[in-house]
């Protein structure tokens, strides 16, 4: 049990997101999360396979044994793994929702806002990708594209991305379709698109845009970020609930609606999952209470399966 406790201390990826965030700035947190995340894997994350051999590289802990080249091992008595063209040229773009609705926490003292959670998750994903020498970029949007960094695999790219994430602040209303269109324009070659949002968007337009990306041959992963209070309508007493972006209000009594509301949210999540999965798009629902490591692990496992 003592070792388990020690593991929990070392593995920042498994800690409560708010607790992790108090340890330092975004870069430090992301590095800590990724270190813990990688140390818990048996093979490299976000690594598919391809029939197009590219080169050998020395074996690293975590690489899958099936990619070991046994002939080279026999000749040189050293471990080498095979790498493929697709992997070495992966271009990943993180598309981050920075709209006003993301700047909300149902329990500010105990949970990150959705935006803070999303930026840290994006930073950790970027670090994982860049450590794999994948070209990684960032697009942040609200009602317009707020920040755009083209995918690069060069040294210093991650710090560039991290600074951009730190400089971001939640803005106005959401217009994800424009940001996704920008991604389409930026990614001429097939690549990976990670879309992080609370999905309080125009559903049909966003679905169309994501499917279009998929149609263009991109692998698309969607992180649907929600606060637990949005899932269960934790507020008590009758109130006028005001939309953060439109300022429109609804008078409701949570006691009367809680069960129906939960059913509605479950249906919305199920609909997103169904629609995205049917289009070959990976969908991950996370809350701001989900440890970053869990979110990363789900995305990695899903991407491996999609190939």
């Amino acid at each position: 049990m003592a070792s388990a406790a020690g593991l929990a201390r070392d593995r920042l990826d498994l800690l409560d997101p708010l607790e992790v965030s108090t340890l330092g700035g975004l870069e430090l947190v992301a590095e800590g999360v990724v270190e813990g995340f990688l140390s818990g894997l048996h093979r490299s994350p976000f690594r598919g396979f391809s029939v197009e051999f590219a080169e050998h590289r020395p074996y690293q802990p975590g690489d899958e044994l099936r990619y070991l080249d046994w002939k080279v091992v026999g000749r040189r008595d050293r471990l080498y793994v095979k790498q493929f063209v697709e992997e070495t040229n992966l271009r990943a773009t993180l598309v981050l929702d920075a709209s006003r609705s993301m700047a909300w926490s149902g329990d500010p003292e105990h949970r990150l806002t959705k935006f803070d959670y999303a930026t840290r998750l994006a930073a950790a994903l970027a670090l994982v990708l860049i450590r794999q020498r994948d070209a990684t970029g960032l697009i942040a949007f609200d009602e317009e594209v707020r920040s755009a960094i083209a995918p690069r695999a060069r040294p210093g790219q991650w710090h560039l991305l991290a600074r951009a994430l730190m400089d971001l602040a939640p803005g106005g209303r959401t217009a994800a379709e424009e940001a996704l269109g920008r991604v389409t324009a930026l990614l001429r070659r097939r690549g990976l698109v990670v879309f992080i949002s609370d999905l309080l968007v125009d559903r049909d337009l966003v679905l169309l845009a994501l499917r279009y990306l998929r149609h263009r041959g991109h692998q698309v992963v969607v992180f649907h970020v929600m606060d637990p209070a949005e899932l269960d309508l934790a507020a008590s007493g009758q109130a006028r609930f005001v939309d953060l972006e439109t300022r429109e209000g609804v008078v409701a009594s949570p006691r009367d609606l809680r069960r129906d509301y939960r059913a509605t949210v479950d249906r919305v999540i199920a609909a997103w999952r169904r629609e995205l999965m049917s289009g070959g798009i990976a969908y991950h629902h996370v809350t701001t209470a989900t440890p970053f490591g869990h979110a990363l692990r789900r995305a990695a496992a899903r991407r491996s399966r999609l190939g």
Binding site: S101, M102, W104, K114, D198, L200, M226, D227, E230, L233, A235, G237, Q238, A239, R240, F241, V242, D243, L244, E245, T246, E248, G249, V250, V251, A252, R255, D256, L257, R258, R259, D260, Y261, A263, T264, V265, V268
Partner: protein, 615 residues
């Protein structure tokens, strides 16, 4: 429908509170920022009908709950019997746990059956009822249901006689004074006919529900009297006159009867109902002795034994002046001497005559033959500390009244002296009266007679009881003996003036200053102490009427309580059906409160969303 508390109907105005609160809650609520308003709006649009329906249901349930509570507070009463509810009732339970309730009838003790019925009725009583229980002592006790249940459970057959007529009259007074519109009297008893007095209309107009055990009363025999004859025995052998009472069985059946004195068995014989048997038993030593006359056990054990007390003495040594005493007294003393009841001279000395009074000595003082000697006789009385003196001579024919001396009662007195007391003389020191004046008085060990015992002054010497009277005079009265008193448990007893305490074993009950007491409840012999001396005995034994278990019939009861609505039953089921009938109306308060609770429970379920339609 009528309301016992109609003013409480004003509470119905409170039914406006839930709708007002409902409207009040429609005021603009506070703003709360929430990102997923679109989901909330979608939910509300889909569940709007359910929510409105639930709000309406909640409103109706809350109004109904308030209305039910208001109606319950008004205590509505409706015709007919609704469930177990009943109109608030003043109920008096008469639980007859007198001595006869200890009889075993039909294989079960009578009292167990009566207690079960009383317990059921008390448990069926509502908090709004006024409850009393009258026990064997005739005292009405009011209390809560729990208190009276405990009292009923603790009841046991008491050696008391409960006058059921008086108990019903007491119950009727309580019901009428209770202020309740409805009242019931329940008489739970073995219904001994002897326990009822004369017809009494006190319960007229009231329901009188009578329950008795179904089994017929058992045949019973009891010792109803045990008296030492004579009242004072000489050392040697004495006799006891014992009377047998009871009911049922074969009238001429004879049962074994035995006597014992101080644990020493005496004569045995057979006797039947109304027989008076004389039983001999040895009295080996002088002093007070306690004995018992007993029957073989039967279905009622409490009357199978009866105690008695007797004083055993040695013959008194008597001296008298024949000339002053006259021929009849001299002859009577001679007969007593010959019978061994009296001896001549020697100690203890007892003198008879006009100047017999002496301090500390036993004496029977008679008026002098020569009126000239009256002054000397009065001086002797004064010197001896006797608070009586001879006064004026009265020549008038009067009849003797002597409640405690049947041997002389009814004799005629032709001439006498007025016996004049000094201040502070207690009435009980007068043993017999003639024409209302004291004729035979006692002060300590001195007895003063107002007439000479000669035919010229009284017819007493010519009566058959003269010799026994002289024997009592010598052996008992002049010894300061108060004799034996008899009383039933709890009966009033007039004590002799000089008695200071009652003693039973180690239990000493001081009675100084009280000339009338209630006899102890426990049967037995209680010695009367006069200072350090034993002056007499009080024999406490059950009332002889308790041995007669003959049951009163419904017709008897109807005649005993004219005007009352008498219902007699021996069936527990019928008893349950009859009780709390009142006017056939029932109070709905309990039902309304129960309905209010159900409505509130439903409200809680609806409010918690348990009845919500799943979307």
């Amino acid at each position: 429908m009528v309301f016992l508390q109609p003013f409480a109907l004003l509470l119905l105005g409170a039914t406006l509170v839930p709708p007002l609160l409902h409207l009040f809650q429609r005021h603009r609520p506070p703003d709360v920022e929430f990102p997923a308003v679109r989901y909330l709006r979608q939910t509300e649009r889909e569940a709007q009908r359910t929510i409105r329906l639930r709000h309406l249901l909640l409103l109706l349930l809350r109004v109904a709950a308030v209305a039910l509570v208001a109606l319950a507070a008004a205590r509505p009463v409706v015709p007919g019997r609704v469930g177990t509810g009943h109109e608030p009732t003043a109920l008096v339970l008469i639980l007859d746990h007198s001595l006869s309730s200890g009889a075993v009838s039909g294989g079960a003790r009578v009292l167990d059956d009566l207690e079960a019925r009383a317990g059921e009725t008390l448990r069926a009583a509502a908090p709004s009822d006024a409850l009393w229980v009258i026990g064997a002592d005739g005292v009405a006790r009011r209390g809560s249901r729990a208190e009276l249940l405990a009292a009923v459970a603790a009841a046991k057959p008491e050696p008391l006689r409960l006058d059921l007529s008086a108990a019903v009259a007491t119950a009727a007074r309580l019901v009428r004074a209770s202020g309740y519109a409805r009242g019931e009297i329940h008489l739970l008893s073995d219904l001994q006919r002897s326990a009822f007095g004369s017809p009494d209309s006190a319960a007229s107009g009231l329901p009188l529900l009578v329950y008795h055990p179904a089994a017929d009363p058992p045949a019973n025999r009891g010792v109803v009297s045990a008296l030492a004859t004579p009242a004072t025995w000489l050392v040697g052998t004495g006799t006891v006159a014992a009377a047998i009472g009871g009911s049922g069985g074969t009238a001429d059946a004879r049962v074994p009867l035995a006597v014992s004195l101080g644990g020493r068995p005496g004569e045995r014989t057979l006797a039947g109902v109304r027989d008076v048997a004389t039983l001999a038993v040895a009295a080996p030593a002088a002093g007070w002795a306690v004995g018992e006359v007993s029957l073989d056990p039967d279905e009622l054990r409490a009357d199978d034994r009866r105690p008695f007390a007797v004083r055993v003495v040695t013959p008194a040594g008597v001296s008298w002046d024949s000339a002053e005493a006259g021929p009849f007294l001299t002859e009577a003393l001679g007969a007593l001497v010959r019978a061994g009841q009296v001896r001549l001279g020697g100690a203890p000395a007892l003198r008879l005559g006009p100047a017999a009074a002496a301090a500390g000595a036993a004496a029977v003082v008679l008026p002098p033959r020569d009126p000239v000697q009256l002054g000397a006789a009065n001086r002797a009385l004064a010197l001896a500390g006797v608070p009586w003196r001879f006064g004026a001579r009265i020549e008038r024919e009067d009849t003797l009244a002597a409640p405690r001396l049947p041997e002389i009662a009814g004799a005629r007195v032709l001439r006498r002296y007025r016996l004049e007391p000094s201040a502070g003389v207690a009435p009980r020191s007068v043993l017999a009266r003639a024409g209302g004046d004291p004729w035979l008085v006692r002060a300590g060990r001195t007895v003063v007679v107002a007439s000479r015992l000669v035919p010229e002054e009284t017819t007493l010497p010519l009566r058959s009881g003269f010799v026994p009277f002289v024997g009592i005079l010598v052996d008992r009265l002049a010894r300061g003996d108060e004799g034996v008193l008899e009383a039933a448990p709890g009966d009033p007893v007039a004590l002799p003036d000089n008695v200071t305490a009652l003693v039973a074993g180690d239990d000493v009950r001081t009675v100084a200053g009280a000339r009338s007491i209630e006899a102890p409840v426990a049967p037995g012999v209680y010695f009367l102490l006069a200072g350090a001396d034993t002056a007499g005995a009080l024999v406490v034994a059950p009332d002889p009427r308790e041995s007669d278990l003959t049951r009163a019939t419904p017709a008897d009861l109807g005649a005993l309580f004219p005007g009352a609505s008498v219902a007699v039953t021996a069936s527990p089921r019928a008893y349950v059906a009859e009780r709390f009938r009142g006017s056939g109306r029932s109070e709905l308060t309990g039902w309304l409160l129960a309905a209010a609770l159900l409505v509130l429970a439903a409200e809680a379920l609806v409010a918690a969303g348990a009845l919500e339609r799943r979307v």
